[in-house]
Each structure stands twice: as structure tokens, then as C-alpha cells.
């Protein structure tokens, strides 16, 4: 990386010197792993989908700090990840998508080789200034079937949370209960022939317990959900931040499916339920094994 000169350079050197040693180590760890990502980058450092590890470095560093020091993530079975294109299917919870950010960090920090997990976002994300750029540089796209197919064909790893917003804003009493699954991911797996890897995320479902979801009020304002938690809206937007629960990722064995992507819903749903059952098993085992929610 080019060294900055002048006052900015001096300031950044000073900032570097003041950083705790572990954080500087984390920075160089990130640089090392960035060089090993298998995604194909062009001469300007971008992949076909506008992802750039260099531009996303600060986001990766922030995620890595949360990953190591806040959620203190443990992974199980990440060595089973197949090379090339795959669909990661995980449970979704916790009011804000820290689970997605941490799963992405996990693939970057712990998988061999490091992978960029591609998120499939909502249509409004590209319309938000700054967020749109950061999302694209970090490898996230609008979740259209065309984009997902192209990513999988390019050998990329796509994260899907088939519970969607139903999962993210589920109530505390429903924790680790999988909500209805969308079917789209299975059609894409059949169309592209990539394996599905279920990932049970344990921890996120307790990070910000939902007591109520005021769906009607949310609809009125065109919001996806309006959760009420012990801290939100009581403490304002800060109340949406998660408690320092420990995250545990349980990666399942890759599942292979064959068949016609255009089959009727019932036939697709049968296969979706196989994935759902596998995920359910991972979550059960993960909850039984853990020593505590925060420890």
C-alpha cells in the first residue's frame, strides 16, 4: 500500500502507533488474507460485481474487531466448506443483521482459502448513499435471481437467510424456532448445481430479545418491521444494538440436490424442508453444547 506523505501521513503513522498491538496485528492479518481470496479481480482491484477487498478494508477491520472482541465467535465444522460456488443457508435473528456481518467475517477470517460471503440485499440498499457503495465493495448485491445465479456461476459463496425479515424480527419466545422458509434458494441451487451448506448460528437469537413486533404501525410507515425490545425504542436507535452474546457458527456438511429448478412449489418445498431439518439439527446440537449465552 502506498505510504501517505505530509500531515496526513504523520497523523496516520501516529494513529498506527497508538493502536493496541492486537489491533495492528488484526490489520496485517486482514491484509494477508485479502491476498488469498480466490475471487478474480481486474487490474484495478475490482471483481465483476464491484467488490474490492482494498476498498472494503475498513469494513472488514470493523467486522473483525466485533468478531474477535465483542461476539468472540467460535466456529465448528468450517473446514467442510467446499471450494467454488455454494449457498450458505442460515437462521436469521437479532433485529439488526449482525449475524450476516459475522458470518461474512467468519468466512473471511477462518475459512481456507478466505472467502467473501456475498449477501443478497433488499432493493432499497442501492438507493442509500454511501451504504450502496460500501455494500457493493464488500461483495453484497441486490438479491435478484439473476445476480445470485451469476455469483454462483462465478464460483462465489452466497449467503441466504430464507426466513428473511420474518426471522430477523422474531420474538424472544420463538428463539431458534425457524420461521417459514422462502423457496427461491432451492430453485437457484437446482439451476446452478451448487451445494447447499446449512449454518446454525447460535447466539444471535438472544442478542436483542424481541417482545413485540408492531407490524401494523410498521406497515403504516412502510418499514419492514417495528420491534419492541427491552432497550428499543426506549433508548432510541442505540437500543437496537446487540448485547455481547457469544456467537457460535455450526457449519453442516454440504448438501447436494438434483432436479428441475422449475418444478412446482410442493416438490421444491420437500427439498427445502430437508435443509430446514438439517439446520434445525445444527441449532439443537449447538444450544445443547454451549456453556452459556454470554460465555
Amino acid at each position: 500500500m502506498a505510504r501517505q506523505t505530509g500531515i496526513r501521513g504523520a497523523l496516520s503513522d501516529l494513529a498506527g502507533a497508538l493502536l493496541p498491538l492486537s489491533l495492528r496485528d488484526l490489520g496485517s492479518e486482514i491484509d494477508d488474507r485479502m491476498a488469498k481470496i480466490p475471487s478474480e479481480l481486474n487490474e484495478y482491484g475490482y471483481d465483476r460485481f464491484a467488490m474490492s477487498p482494498v476498498d472494503a478494508r475498513s469494513a472488514l477491520l470493523n467486522a473483525a474487531v466485533l468478531y474477535r472482541y465483542y461476539f468472540r465467535v467460535e466456529t465448528f465444522g468450517i473446514e467442510q466448506l467446499p471450494p467454488g460456488g455454494m449457498l450458505l443457508i442460515a437462521n436469521h435473528a437479532g433485529q439488526l443483521p449482525f449475524d450476516a456481518a459475522m458470518l461474512g467475517a467468519s468466512l473471511f477470517l477462518e475459512a481456507e482459502p478466505p472467502r467473501i460471503a456475498r449477501g443478497m440485499g433488499e432493493y432499497w440498499i442501492p438507493q442509500l448513499p454511501f451504504v450502496s457503495v460500501m455494500a457493493a465493495r464488500s461483495g453484497h448485491q441486490v438479491g435478484t435471481p439473476e445476480n445470485c445465479t451469476q455469483l454462483l456461476d462465478a464460483g462465489e459463496c452466497v449467503m441466504v437467510f430464507p426466513e428473511g425479515v420474518r426471522g430477523m424480527n422474531k420474538l424472544f419466545r420463538d428463539r431458534y424456532k425457524l420461521m417459514r422458509f422462502g423457496l427461491g434458494f432451492m430453485r437457484l441451487a437446482l439451476a446452478t448445481g451448487v451445494p447447499i451448506v446449512p449454518v446454525g448460528i447460535v447466539g444471535s437469537e438472544e442478542q436483542n430479545p424481541g417482545l413485540l413486533n408492531l407490524e401494523r404501525v410498521a406497515n403504516l410507515f412502510g418499514m419492514p418491521a417495528l420491534p419492541v425490545t427491552p432497550t428499543f425504542p426506549l433508548l432510541g436507535p442505540l437500543g437496537l444494538l446487540p448485547m455481547p452474546v457469544r456467537y457460535r457458527f455450526h457449519f453442516g456438511a454440504p448438501m447436494h440436490f438434483e432436479g428441475d429448478a422449475g418444478e412446482e412449489d410442493a416438490a421444491i418445498e420437500r427439498r427445502v424442508n430437508e435443509v430446514r431439518d438439517a439446520l434445525d439439527g445444527l441449532l439443537k446440537r449447538g444450544r445443547e453444547q454451549r456453556s452459556g449465552i454470554f460465555s
Partner: protein, 305 residues
């Protein structure tokens, strides 16, 4: 030797194409302005496509093939007359092609007809709807031209008609909107947005047209170049710098300044600085084995500042 008639022959792209085609074809052309210093063996007729005189040119030249690129793509003149020149001019040209035994037609459309939207998937194919008029009504004439030509393919299947939709064209001779924009010292950008953009060199566009003629292609084809970068990289690599403006200021400012005629880009163009319009060029590559000769670096360096 087959004879090719080029509309818009005096423009940068027309001149490049003429030079490229002269090796294997007899070339003539029409334009509303003369081409000073055109090659001696190239006949250049100064006519308006909408006038009877253009019909006479077709009747006497009797070209085997027509390459149609005589469009007004800038906004300097009157909006209504631009629409009339582009749409009615194309309609007249299509009629003459059908009436005077033209065997092959190539229409140079562009990637802009798809429109810039947040929901655009990456690398859209030729079947993606042409929605530009929804957010950028000022270029609806170019969408109509593309649509007229598409209908022509079905109406006259014995005439091999190809519509080419190249991505952002840059180069020394071509006066493209994106080229002008990148030549500004401080190109206004939309703060917080940085869409992926594909580029192609003007010589590769000429090559693509030549390949289309050579292969006798029929149908609609996206034509892509060597690759894509975010807009900010294109601005940097062409030696400019970005002037990021918040949208709530930029949009009304663009509207006013455009209305007063002191700024050449309508507000609808802003969406192309926000959302990506990226195309899949697979169909054209499979049909012609086309490979762009110019890389991104050469493309950016070809913009003389």
C-alpha cells in the same frame, strides 16, 4: 465489391468505421454536415434523413448494406427537433431499406436504452426491458429508434438487421456524452454513489460493426468492451477529479441549468451516476468470436484532456 452506406458518416465514429471498412467494401455516406478531407473514393452526401433527397441518395447509390448511426445524442438543440430527427429519420431510413433492395442493416443503439435503476441486475442480456424513458424521458427517442428497428427485424426477415447496443464508448474521435463528462476537470458525481461502468474503445465499436456486416448478423446484440470499473476509478484514470454533490442539490441544479441551456445534461442522466447499467455481451461474442483489442488502461488514456 459490396457497397455500404453509413448515416452520420462525418461524426467521429462514422469516420473510424469508414477507414475500417474501406479495406473490403465500397463506402458512401450521408450526414447533415460535410466531412472535410474525406477519403477521395468515399462519396459523402449532405442530406437530412427526413427529406426526399435522402431517398434519392439511396435510390442512386443502391447500397447492399446500411449502417445507421446518424443520431443526435446531445441535448444542445431543440428537444422536439431532436426527437423528430432521430425517430422520423429512422422511420424514413427503414422504409427506404425495405423499398430499395438493401440486404443488410446495422443500427447503432446504446446501452443507455435499458435505463439506470437500483433493481438492475448485473450484466443484463438483450431481452431485458428497455425502460430508460421511465426516469430519463429526454432520451426516449433513442428507445423508440431501438424499438422501431426491432420491429423491422420481424417485419422484413429477409433483410439481415442487427441492432448493436455498445456500452460507454470512449476514444479520441468520438464525442460521446460519457466522454464529454469525463473530460470535465471536476466531474460532478452523486455523493455516496459509485456505480460500476463498462467501457469500450471507439475502434472496437468500429470493429464490432465490421464483424456484424461480415457475419450477416440478425437480431439484437449488446457489445461490451474489456471490462468495468466504478465511475470514480474511470474519473481518476482519465486524469480528472470528482466533485461529489448531494442529490438534493444536484437534481434541482441540473434541472434549472439544463432548462436555461447552460448545462448539457438533463437531470435524468444523474441516475446513470447512481445505478449500474452493465450488459452481458455473450450473445455477440458467441456469434462473431469478437474480442476487444483495447484494454481499460488504453481506453482511459485515449481521452485527450
Amino acid at each position: 465489391m459490396e457497397k455500404i452506406l453509413i448515416t452520420g458518416i462525418s461524426g467521429g465514429q462514422g469516420r473510424l468505421l469508414t477507414r475500417r471498412l474501406l479495406e473490403g467494401y465500397e463506402v458512401c455516406g450521408v450526414d447533415k454536415v460535410p466531412w472535410e478531407g474525406h477519403p477521395r473514393d468515399v462519396e459523402v452526401h449532405v442530406v437530412d434523413l427526413r427529406k426526399k433527397k435522402f431517398e434519392d441518395v439511396i435510390r442512386t447509390e443502391m447500397p447492399n448494406a446500411v449502417v445507421h448511426m446518424g443520431f443526435i445524442r446531445h441535448f444542445r438543440g431543440d428537444e422536439k427537433s431532436r426527437h423528430d430527427v432521430n425517430v422520423r429519420g429512422t422511420k424514413q431510413l427503414l422504409d427506404h431499406c425495405a423499398n430499395y433492395g438493401v440486404q443488410q442493416l446495422v443500427v447503432l443503439s446504446s446501452s443507455y436504452v435499458y435505463g439506470a435503476f437500483p433493481e438492475n441486475p448485473f450484466y443484463m442480456d438483450e431481452d431485458h426491458p428497455l425502460s430508460a424513458s421511465r426516469s430519463y424521458p429526454e432520451i426516449r427517442d433513442l428507445v423508440e429508434v431501438d424499438t422501431l428497428a426491432s420491429a423491422f427485424i420481424w417485419k422484413y426477415p429477409h433483410i439481415r438487421t442487427a441492432i448493436l447496443r455498445p456500452v460507454n464508448v470512449l476514444g479520441h474521435y468520438v464525442h460521446s456524452m460519457i466522454g464529454q463528462y469525463l473530460r470535465i476537470d471536476r466531474s460532478p458525481t452523486m455523493m455516496g454513489f459509485d456505480p460500476l461502468m463498462q467501457f469500450i474503445h471507439e475502434e472496437d465499436v468500429a470493429e464490432a460493426i465490421a464483424l456484424t456486416l461480415q457475419h450477416g448478423l440478425q437480431g439484437v446484440f449488446n457489445v461490451t468492451g474489456p471490462g468495468q470499473v466504478p465511475l470514480s476509478v474511470a474519473i481518476r484514470e482519465t486524469g480528472g477529479s470528482a466533485l461529489p454533490l448531494p442529490e438534493f442539490l444536484a437534481r434541482p441544479a441540473f434541472e434549472r441549468l439544463f432548462d436555461w441551456g447552460i448545462w448539457p445534461y438533463p437531470a435524468g442522466a444523474l441516475d446513470y451516476l447512481k445505478f449500474p447499467v452493465t450488459l452481458s455481451g455473450k450473445r455477440f461474442v458467441e456469434a462473431t468470436k469478437y474480442r476487444p483489442l483495447f484494454g481499460l488502461e488504453e481506453i482511459f488514456q485515449s481521452l485527450v484532456r
